[in-house]
């Protein structure tokens, strides 16, 4: 460490990089070594502040870092080598980008003088990653490393967060070339000023509109979780007596067990949430982006609604749906200002109208109510999620992969807290769930971490069971095994006369033996009555990773489901019913 009395310490580029990470408060780096990053790995070896987690495939490193960021709010850090190391990280970078997750990805690069020569393991990572990063940078001089690391974290974590790639040619980290090390305290960029608080006039207008609303709805997205504004959101919703719907990315932003919560909205949203949206006179969108899995056909979207939209990213406002009252700002200070103004200006809510609105909502709640056929002899995936919710007292970190199991988890695990539901919403990355669970478990070893997955998704990163063994990452894997790529099959059932083109998972491994081969515990559940004892045993094994291979009804579909090309409230409610 340096002090004012001493000269700055002399460090190599590699050592500066690691020291900068330590000064940034980074505890873990997830990665995989290779030629271009050997100097950096050697510098890592010679200190103990920053610990390295060796994954089995670079994609898993990115998902671990990503999930850590989703759970903690701080940027996750990835270290990979040039060429294939970097390209293997691409899916994970894109996953983080689509969901605005702060992440710093350090990629090795070939020696500066070889760049452009098609050298061994050379790839233009700046070029490849450009469309899927918030920013990327290359190190040109070793002495710039501390500044560039600070800049990477600053950009990744501020404003609308996102991944930042730092490309480091090998000759920037040569051990014998040392430079004075000083880590900048803060960074200012003339071209980047991310801290918008929202225009007070617009905020006032929004509040007036909400107070006058007869059929309002609060539509809260991942921005509330990223912006750590759940408390403010909850308080405001209660004061204004607003029904609240969360997006897939926003689950937990408002407590699911609260009576004002009307469920998730969108393609597989609840009947009541989609009806409320469609019939609303004021939609108060907070940190959400009106994406296509929410709006259904934009031309038919919520025809009578005045739209208030808070977002830190102006490009998200009026992108797909025009906002009548746009507010560009960080969600937290904007909501705080709204609460403040609400206290000063005692506007009256239209209690009569709201009473009628809630009556209507109650009727809608009774139409579908998240029902599924629980009498069937086959174990239902929804019942499994409900049982997992019970066994974890609704307090687990739940990660998921992508497909039917993801939607069942989103619908039936009632999230009461933010940062607990960790899934790839924007990119829809199969293979995300297991490494995500690992990233969370590493940082929250005492928390229950559950990965809800399917036999398709889990095989996309199943090699990480080995990493779990090495680091004692005792997550619980709930493999909803229906022998099909369930969501693909559902669409083939609905749109292709059940022609199951390549959606059947033939030749599945024996997952129990596979888990055991990696040194874990495997439990198979094939009958409904086996579920409870299996979960009992799994969650009692605190110091074991347990792989629950649960055979569920292969014919089950996810409902409700919006009818493509329709309005928000046009839905299939079961295989035989539609609105």
């Amino acid at each position: 460490m340096t002090s004012q009395n001493t000269q700055p310490e002399l460090l190599s580029g590699g050592a500066m990089l690691i020291r900068a990470l330590a000064d940034e408060g980074v505890e873990y780096v997830y990665g995989y070594p290779g030629g271009a990053v050997l100097h950096i790995y050697d510098a890592m070896f010679q200190q103990h502040q920053v610990k390295h987690v060796l994954v089995r495939h670079e994609q898993a490193a990115t998902h671990m870092a990503d999930a850590y960021a989703r759970a903690s709010g701080k940027a996750g850090v990835v270290l990979v080598t040039s060429g294939p190391g970097a390209t293997n990280a691409v899916t994970g970078i894109a996953t983080a980008y689509m969901d605005s997750i702060p992440m710093v990805v350090i990629c090795g690069q070939v020696m500066s003088h070889l760049i452009g020569d098609d050298a061994f393991q050379e790839t233009d990572m700046l070029g490849i990653s450009r469309p899927i990063v918030k920013h990327n940078m290359s190190v040109r001089r070793p002495e710039d490393i501390p500044y560039l690391v600070k800049k990477a974290f600053y950009i990744a974590q501020s404003g609308r967060p996102g991944p930042v790639v730092l490309d480091i040619p090998k000759d920037m980290t040569i051990p014998s070339q040392k430079f004075p090390y000083e880590y900048p305290k803060e960074i200012k960029l003339r071209s980047y000023n991310p801290n918008a608080k929202g225009h007070p006039g617009q905020i006032k207008k929004a509040l007036t509109t909400l107070l006058a609303a007869k059929k309002p709805v609060l539509y809260a997205g991942g921005g509330v979780i990223l912006g750590q504004a759940s408390d403010e959101l909850t308080l405001l919703a209660r004061k204004l007596n607003l029904p609240v719907t969360n997006t897939l990315m926003g689950l937990g932003a408002y407590p699911a067990s609260d009576p004002q919560f009307i469920g998730m909205l969108g393609m597989h949203g609840s009947y009541e949430a989609n009806q409320v949206m469609h019939n609303a006179d004021v939609i108060f969108a907070v940190g959400a982006r009106f994406d296509d899995r929410v709006t259904n056909a934009t031309k038919k979207f919520c025809p009578n609604a005045t739209i208030i939209h808070i977002d830190i990213d102006p490009a998200s406002i009026s992108k797909t749906i025009n906002a009548h009252i746009p507010i560009v700002g960080l969600v937290k200070p904007v909501l705080q200002e709204m609460l403040h103004q609400l206290e000063k200006n005692q506007g009256e809510l239209d209690q009569d109208a709201l009473g009628q609105w809630w009556q209507q909502i109650q009727q809608w709640r009774e139409v579908h109510g998240g029902r599924y056929d629980s009498s069937a002899s086959h174990l239902k995936p929804q019942a499994v999620i409900e049982a997992v919710h019970r066994h974890t007292k609704g307090d687990a970190y739940v990660t998921s992969d992508v497909g039917q199991h993801q939607m069942f988890a989103a619908q039936y695990y009632k999230f009461d807290k933010p940062n607990r539901w960790i899934n790839s919403g924007g990119l829809g990355t199969m293979g995300f769930g297991l490494p995500a669970a690992m990233g969370v478990k590493l940082h929250y070893p005492d928390a229950e971490v559950v990965c809800v997955t399917g036999e398709g998704s889990i095989q996309m990163n199943i090699q990480e069971l080995s990493t779990c063994k090495q680091y004692g990452l005792n997550v619980k894997i709930i493999n909803l095994n229906n022998g099909y790529l369930g969501m693909v099959k559902q669409w083939q059932d609905m749109n292709y006369d059940s022609r199951y083109s390549s959606s059947y998972m033939d030749s599945l491994p024996d997952f129990v033996k596979l888990a055991e081969a990696y040194g874990h515990v495997g439990i198979r559940v094939t009958k409904a009555e086996e579920l409870e004892p299996a979960l009992e045993r799994a969650f009692a094994l605190k110091d074991k990773l347990v792989f629950l291979d649960i055979h569920v009804d292969p014919t089950e579909h996810v409902y409700p489901m919006q009818i493509p090309g329709g309005a928000m409230n046009e839905m299939f409610l079961s295989k035989t019913e539609r609105t």
Partner: protein
């Protein structure tokens, strides 16, 4: 609608690629693009001509703003502005055509900047429309090649795009 966007950009490697990449990724058009350093060598100024309805142009400007290296930008076509483009045209000229080409260049306030026994190279500066009109006026003359700089633009009056 045609719009002229003026962008002040950090003069760093990769910054231009980011701007061009944005247009490619999101399916926006680029009619022309010019870029060079300003009087402050750390800043480049980029002028880009694009087309789209109001919503598209709004998205383009917002997305450009999001790029970390974009310092400032303006849609010049929103207010009074001056635009210029430079074109060099090399034409094949027979002895009897030379006078006509010269006259045509004079009418368009062009200059003949290079001559060989068989060719004239003419420089014309003006709006894109004027340059196109000049090409049309050369009908009957064999054009060997044309080079256009792309549009540069600046606001009229006191208004500036600067740091």
């Amino acid at each position: 609608m045609r719009h002229i966007l003026s962008v002040l950009l950090e003069n760093e490697s990769g910054a231009l690629a980011r701007v061009v990449g944005l247009f490619a990724q999101r399916g926006y058009n680029i009619d022309s693009l010019t870029v060079a350093a300003t009087e402050d060598p750390t800043i480049s100024r980029l002028t880009l001509v694009t087309r789209g309805d109001d919503q598209v142009i709004e998205q383009i400007t917002k997305q450009l703003h999001k790029l970390i290296e974009v310092v400032k930008l303006a849609d010049l076509s929103e207010s009074a502005h001056i635009e210029r483009e430079l074109m060099m045209v090399k034409v094949k000229t027979t002895a009897e055509q030379r006078e006509e080409v010269k006259r045509c260049a004079d009418i368009f306030r062009g200059q003949i900047i290079d001559i060989t026994a068989n060719t004239y190279t003419i420089q014309v500066v003006g709006t894109s429309d004027k340059l196109e009109a000049f090409i049309e006026a050369l009908s009957g003359i064999q054009i060997l090649e044309t080079v256009r700089s792309g549009v540069s633009g600046i606001s009229r009056g006191e208004r500036t795009l600067s740091l």
